[in-house]
Symmetry: C2
């Protein structure tokens, strides 16, 4: 089925905004795959097809509780010779998501979008292990970093996530979003902290692509908003989580391909129900010989 | 310093309600320890001291990220011959928390409080491993089970937490609260789901007792409320988390011993800030030749 980071991201984002995809794929990317993008009005004119190449593939296994993915093998394939060149239309994008590729290449794309209002970055343990310096340089020039919590700890070399976040934010990004699998996600800025649970699911068929689907929903929702303020970012986290929750219910992008806005908004509202509590501070009331008096507020 | 499950629980709960402690301690429990309980007005008249015994001790180590505690050794000591007998006052308690002891003993206490409005239960991997049947019988006769997520999965033999919760609730308890360390806590009832993050802390000195402190704040707050409804339970989870966040900042019960209600309420309000988002569903707006129209709601 249609999988892959770019597919998960683009199809998820397409529910909220118009998506232009800049990517390289191998000759194994065919008419069927393109039809899915067309149906979701994903602009693939910047998609580069290398006929004698094979699409990048990730092989891994998940832990018992599906929270931890171990990379068994990463086939760079067509990425080995990839140098993304953006069309004029793509260069004028208001929001840009730098998918998980080698950090030098990501920085090359970032330099082509100097006027973007928000540039977000994804990465993975492979690049932290092998290209740490380049990765840090790339982090320095983006607005938003989206990683999982093991990656945030590994990038910053801080076991405590709050310290890890502070360190990463000191390098340049205004915002850090940390994905936590079944535990939800957290967002850090210099002034604010925001954290949400995951949508509770009884059956997770395939967690592959959940991170990309999350990022797609998040970036797509942000693109639909005039102001990229704290409130928009918070709602974007919820929409990203909603999209990810659909993604894991079936294999590949199958579930996310046939969503309605009503289904999306219904889960958004459920998130409010899952997280709401009344802000009533504690007041101690003691009974003293029949009458009640309050001790402090 | 004063540690131990009962100390953490009682001191935490004492900020919200009057606490009566039924427990057994060894001869190593002295005047200093009793003074701390007195200062927090914890009623220790049901405290049994076995002079030639030693207090129950837990030895463990924590993982790198402090989320997972491994039990290295458990010294039952005085608990080996413990058969809790409740005074008339204790038998009339409106809320009862059955601390983490052998499940037969917990059931023995539960039978002594048939009129309690809410009976909560704590347990640990030791009892799941060694006394599974008795533990399940005890779970069947309580209203609220409070465990961590590994324990919830282990008790139910379900890797998926939502399925684990459904199974545990089918045995009898109306409510399951799952502690998740730095990821916060979740609450399950047959109809509702509620989840909160942990209070973000840059330095965690000692996570020991966080679970007991959480349970103390939770039960203490509930005891202060006239109605034990969903709203009260949700706020109780926040107050439990607030107390736990103070607990881990210093060793033993040191930080929690010198709290004010203002400090507690301040963190309660911060939790609202960390979790709030506006409930504005997505509306797709597209620009078509200069004018905008909306596609679905």
């Amino acid at each position: 089925m249609l999988g892959g980071s770019a597919s998960h991201f683009s199809i998820s984002a397409s529910y909220f905004t118009d998506v232009r995809l800049v990517a390289v794929v191998g000759g194994d990317f065919g008419a069927e795959e393109r039809a899915v993008f067309d149906r979701h009005e994903v602009d693939t004119s910047d998609l580069e097809v290398i006929l004698d190449g094979k699409t990048f593939r990730w092989f891994g296994k998940y832990e018992y509780d599906l929270n931890v993915a171990h990379t068994l093998d990463t086939h760079l394939n067509v990425f080995a010779g990839f140098e993304p060149k953006l069309s004029e239309r793509s260069k004028n994008s208001r929001l840009v998501f730098l998918g998980n590729i080698q950090p030098d290449l990501q920085r090359g794309v970032r330099e082509q979008v100097p006027n973007a209002e928000l540039v977000a970055l994804d990465t993975m343990n492979l690049w932290i292990d092998t290209t740490r310096e380049s990765l840090q340089k790339t982090i320095e020039v983006v607005d938003l970093l989206i990683v999982n919590d093991a990656e945030a700890r590994q990038i910053s070399e801080e076991p405590n996530l709050i310290k890890a976040a502070r360190k990463i934010l000191s390098w340049g990004p205004k915002t850090l979003i940390v994905k936590r699998g079944e535990y939800g996600a957290a967002m850090f800025t210099k002034e604010e902290y925001f954290a949400i649970p995951a949508y509770p699911l009884e059956s997770v068929f395939d967690p592959t692509g959940a991170g990309d689907t999350f990022a797609g929903g998040l970036m797509g929702y942000l693109a639909s908003q005039e102001k990229l303020d704290e409130g928009a970012l918070r709602r974007a986290m919820i929409f990203g989580s909603v999209m990810a929750s659909f993604n894991v219910e079936e294999f590949g992008t199958e579930r996310v391909q046939r969503l309605t806005h009503d289904e999306i908004n219904q889960r958004f509202r459920e998130f409010k129900r899952f997280t709401h509590f009344e802000e009533i501070p504690f007041e101690r009331v003691r009974e003293v010989s029949g009458s009640k008096f309050q001790v402090s507020g």
